[in-house]
Symmetry: C2
Subunit: 111 residues, 2 copies
Amino acid sequence: MEAMSAVSALSALAQEHRLSAFRLLVQAGSAGMAAGAIADALDIPSSSLSFHLAHLTRAGLIRQRRQSRSLIYSADYAEMSALVGYLMENCCGGVECETDAASPPAEHLAA
Amino acid sequence: MEAMSAVSALSALAQEHRLSAFRLLVQAGSAGMAAGAIADALDIPSSSLSFHLAHLTRAGLIRQRRQSRSLIYSADYAEMSALVGYLMENCCGGVECETDAASPPAEHLAA
DNA sequence: TTGACATTTCCAGAAAGATCGAATAGTCAG
DNA sequence: CTGACTATTCGATCTTTCTGGAAATGTCAA
């Protein structure tokens, strides 16, 4: 991950509605959720939500796929892990941070 | 971690100079760095850097202590871990994400 | 092809954030 | 106390972002 994409990802998450939407999708797993379902869950006008989902998509944090009339969004776990890894990179100069905090959670790196 | 403090932490990191400064401090470890040293390393006017450091401090991501004439800043690893944990909370609805991605790196939780 | 449905794009105004020189405040050696 | 040093606050300007109704786009059943 590079500095520019990290800033882009972080600023995508740095907003009340977008953070809520992203966490909702993280918890929804690979099944994802339709835009309308997210709008209902968060109680946000659809035009506003669409703006926020586009923002998250542009940042690479979520993905979009069409299913009939609905657009299904889902979290991109690899990107999330990359972001966390970037934040903690070379933590404490590599000293006393062996294999734990210095490396990102690797569960979803291939997702 | 609550939604409001997460947004505050994320928006603190969602800026080129602040992200660079934070990563510098993460890598500096508990020794930290003086404001002037950070300004030199990042090549930012001191008044701008001060604005950004205040922002990071307000968000709880870094701490300040005085050492003679210098103000030394250092990363707050507990807060960083809490933020990561909040992002990944209840990942995938708790399924297929056992103990790995669902929990934050715990190395510095007591720092 | 008509109508209903799901979602996005367009638009304008209101609010928040970034920048940096100059002025101000805290710390210390002599 | 004076002067040098380190860093923050002030102030004014510029840019970016958020918001939500209305209109447009894409999808599908009948």
